[in-house]
Structures are given as structure tokens and as C-alpha cells.
Amino acid sequence: MSELKPIFDLFSTAGWAPPPIPEAAHLVAYGHQLASLKSLPGVRVEASTSDTGIVAEVVIAAGMRVDQPIHLCFGLYQQFGLQNVRLALTLEPGAQATLWSHCLFAVPLAARHTMLGEFHLGEGAQLRHQEAHYHGASGDIEVLPHARVTLEKGARYLADFSLVEGRVGRLDIDYTVDVGEAAVAELTSRIYGFGTDSIRLREALILNGPGAKGLLKSRVAVRDEARAEVFGIMEGNAAGARGHVDCMEIVRDRAEVSAVPEVRVRHPQAKVTHEAAIGSVDSTQLETLMARGLAPDEAVDLIVRGMLA
């Protein structure tokens, strides 16, 4: 499929193995140009494009269990570019799927990518969402993934965001998840910034349903002049709601991180906890690895890579 060659080239540039896109339900877009689209029985993928952006909709039918991951691949292969995406994702009751989002901006010298998402998981639906970014070496890339996620009774949403290779540029993540009765949301973010990268990570889990459970886990490492702001918001608003915020940030050189946890409980039978560790590499970890023969730089690299793995 010649229309997929550019995205496979971008995968190669990022050092990633190309996924089996042609066989899976998918959407591939370069800038505001739709390259490839495929639905499968029970998985409807639709999109329209204009000069101002892409509007996409993915619907997984009730009770449908999709074994093969659904792929959303967004990229730019011009030197300068803009990509705006509006994505509506719906898992009807009882649907189960894995969604792989790949955002590849290896080529541009300067670019901006925005994503406005509306995700809705019906009763008992389950979504595993893995979002991997590669922004190349330029550093003049702006990426703004924003989404609102709604989980109905008993739904499960497990999301993993990763940007650990290449420059970050300017990243602004803003996710809010409304967690319903007995629903579960787990958001993990792993980001490695350097140079003059700027990271803003805001994730909010609002545990509105009785027995709702949430976990926010952030792993951010910065060095050089990079800056990061991490906002982890957890609200327990119903009986039996349980939430935990787990932040770990490593800071090196002249980089800077601020972590702002916001935990709020509005029901006496809800419980929300928080732990955070921000600082340089732990000296005990460092010495343990040096006692195995690793030089300090090698040891730090291993610790950071492990944290972001």
C-alpha cells in the first residue's frame, strides 16, 4: 500500500518496527491529508478532512471484542506543518479493544499537532490505549493532546503515554476522566525532556461513581534546560472511591520540575492517596550500579531508562 509508505518510513526513522496496519482497523493521516482508513466488522472508522483539520470517529460495537489493536497514526513529513485532529471514540457497552496511537513528527523543523478527544466507554467496556510519540530532533514541535474521557459503570480505561526518544519540543497534555460506578481508570505517562524542551502534563481523574478506582502515574525525567510541570488531580466524590497519584520525576543539570498534586475528597467513604519523589538520581541507586562497574553517566542513564520503561 503505497499510501502507507511514508508512515512506515517515519516508523523506521523513529527506530520502531512498523505495526501490521494494513490488516487492522486503522486511520492514517499526514497533516490534514487522509492517507488510509479501514473499518472491520464491529469496528467503524470514519474521518473527514478539511484545510483546518481532521474529524474522525471510531465506534466499537456493543459486546465486540477486538483482538487486533486498532491503529491511529498521525504524522507529518513536510518540514513545516500543522495537524489538528478531533477524535470521537466510543466503545459501546461490553466492547473490548486495544488502541495504538502513534504520533510521528520526525521530519518537520517546525510543526504543531493538536488533538481534541472525546472518549466514551459504555457499561463494562474496556479500552487499553497506548499512545507513543516521536518528535524528532528539531525541538521546534508543539504537541497538544487534550481529551475528555467518560467511563460508564464497570468500564476500564488503561492509558499509557510515552515520549522517551528524540526531543519533546513543547508538549501540553490535558486529560480529564470522569470515572463512573465501579469503573477503573489508570493513566501512566512517561516523558523524557532535554535541551529546551517544555512539558506540561495535566491529568485529572474524577471518581464520581461509587466504587470507582483511579491511578495516575507519572514518570518524567528532564535534563539540560528542560522544564516540566506535572499536575496530578484526583477527586474522590463517591462512597468506596479509591484513588492514588504516583509521581516520580528525575531532574538533572539546570532542568526544573514542579509537581502539583491536587487530591480532593468529597465523600467520607472515599479515599485518595498521593506519593511523589522529585530530585536528582538517588545516590544509593547510583552507587549500587557503580559497584557493578557502571560509570556514573552509564548508571544514571540506566536508572532513567528504567524509570521510563
Binding site: 541507586q285 557503580m290 557493578r292 562497574g293 540506566l302 521510563l308
Partner: protein, 255 residues
């Protein structure tokens, strides 16, 4: 017969035929204004299991850290010689590359670092599965787990011992290897030390437990930052059992 019996030969005299692997002479170490090692002299012969006994606070772990080269444990006087070469100014990783390593009393944990990879640090050619089995850990259950907080304290210490085995060091410093380990894994510890000895490693076995040190070839007792008794293990143990203090206050209370 216990698992320890017969493991070590318990030679009464230093083996003068063996080369000295490590020599500490007149080592003085101060931490936060307090003298921790005070003109300490200690020699380890190549291939021996040397027990280092001392009450809590007597400076045993500080000695281990000083030999390993931890940044905060640089001696202010004296010399540390390894295989005839002064190593006082070498950083930790260079000492490790010479063949010195340390199994920490409270080893660090690493998120995202697998046990298999941890044991392969330093491009170790050792059989990871065999190293894990020797410390009583089933490789099928553990090799792919992370060296993180999901391991119990005892499991983490066993992994640390396995890592020392995998490194095949010339000098293995085992700092309180039985602390925090359940009784079952004392057998595993015996196996580790036996394997190290068989592979030609010298072991500095640091402990405050007489029953652990009893199986060393030779032993030394540390008190007030100095070696106050050294030689045949049984004699050092007898001396140690008669000590006055339970926790060392930095002064020599027992000569």
C-alpha cells in the same frame, strides 16, 4: 549437621603462602566529625573467607563502603591497596572494574530494571539462571521481574547476592548478608559463599552474628574503629562473645 558445617575449613592460621589481595593500613575515616575508622589495619589473603565481626555501630559497613569507594567514605589518612595497587583515589566503578564489589546491606530498588538485566550489568558472562537458583530463586518466577519495590526485603537481598555471583569478583564484600533474610535462605547464602570460594573469590563477610562468622577461614573483630582481635575464627569469636558493649559508642571498650 547444619548447612554451614563442613563448608569452610576454618584454618587457624593465616595462609602465608597466599598473596595479600587487600591491605588496609592506617585507615582513618571521619563522618560528620566523628571518627569511624581510627588507624585501621586489615589484610585479606587471596581466596580466603574473612569474617568481620563487630557490634552495631562499630564501623563494619563504613569499612565496606570505604573499600568500595563510596563518595562519602573517602579516608582522610592511610592507604587501601588492592592487588599491590593503591586504590584510594579510584572512583567506585573503577574499583568494581578491578574486581571489587559489594552486596549492600539494604540494596537499592530500581523501577523498570529487570532482574535478568540487573545480573548482566557489566557484561557478565555468568549464567543468570544458575545464579538465581543458587540464592533460592526460581528463574522462571524471578528473571523477568523488576528489581523494584514489589520484591520483599529478603527477595531483594537474594537478588543482590545473585548479582555478586554473576559478577564473578575477585573480592566480594557481603555486608550483613543474613540481615532480613528468612532462615530458609541461610542455606542459599552458604551456597553463594561456596560458589564464590570455588570460583576463586575472596569474601569479606561482614556480620554481627557469631554463628554466621563461625564459618569463615579467619576473622577480625572491629571495635571503636580499630581491629582489636584477628586470626583464628574460633579465637576471635570467643573474644567477640566477651565484648562489653552491644552498641559501639566509637571507643575501644574491648581489647
Amino acid at each position: 549437621m547444619t548447612a554451614w558445617a563442613g563448608l569452610f575449613h576454618g584454618r587457624g592460621q593465616p595462609d602465608t603462602d597466599r598473596a595479600i589481595l587487600l591491605r588496609m593500613h592506617g585507615v582513618r575515616l571521619e563522618l560528620q566529625g566523628k571518627t569511624v575508622l581510627d588507624g585501621l589495619d586489615l589484610e585479606l589473603a587471596t581466596g580466603e573467607i574473612h569474617g568481620l565481626l563487630g557490634a552495631n555501630g562499630s564501623g563494619k559497613s563504613s569499612l565496606a563502603h570505604a573499600v568500595m569507594g563510596c563518595e562519602a567514605y573517602r579516608p582522610s589518612a592511610g592507604e587501601i591497596v588492592f592487588e599491590g595497587r593503591r586504590i584510594d583515589d579510584l572512583p567506585m566503578h573503577e574499583r568494581a572494574r578491578l574486581g571489587i564489589t559489594l552486596a549492600w546491606q539494604e540494596p537499592a530498588r530500581f523501577e523498570g530494571l529487570g532482574i535478568r538485566d540487573y545480573l548482566r550489568i557489566g557484561e557478565s558472562a555468568a549464567d543468570v539462571n544458575d545464579c538465581l537458583r543458587r540464592v533460592g530463586l526460581d528463574p522462571d518466577d524471578y528473571a523477568d521481574r523488576a528489581v523494584d519495590k514489589t520484591l520483599s526485603g529478603g527477595e531483594r537481598k537474594r537478588v543482590e547476592l545473585a548479582a555478586v555471583l554473576a559478577m564473578q569478583p575477585k573480592l566480594a564484600i557481603l555486608d550483613e548478608p543474613t540481615a532480613g533474610i528468612d532462615l530458609l535462605s541461610l542455606d542459599a547464602l552458604v551456597d553463594v559463599i561456596e560458589a564464590l570460594k570455588t570460583a576463586g573469590s575472596t569474601v569479606l563477610l561482614i556480620t554481627h552474628q557469631a554463628d554466621v562468622a563461625a564459618h569463615a577461614d579467619r576473622a577480625s573483630q572491629l571495635c571503636g574503629g580499630r581491629i582489636v582481635c584477628q586470626g583464628e575464627t574460633a579465637r576471635v569469636l570467643e573474644h567477640y562473645r566477651k565484648r562489653v558493649c552491644r552498641r559501639c559508642d566509637g571507643k575501644i571498650c574491648h581489647v
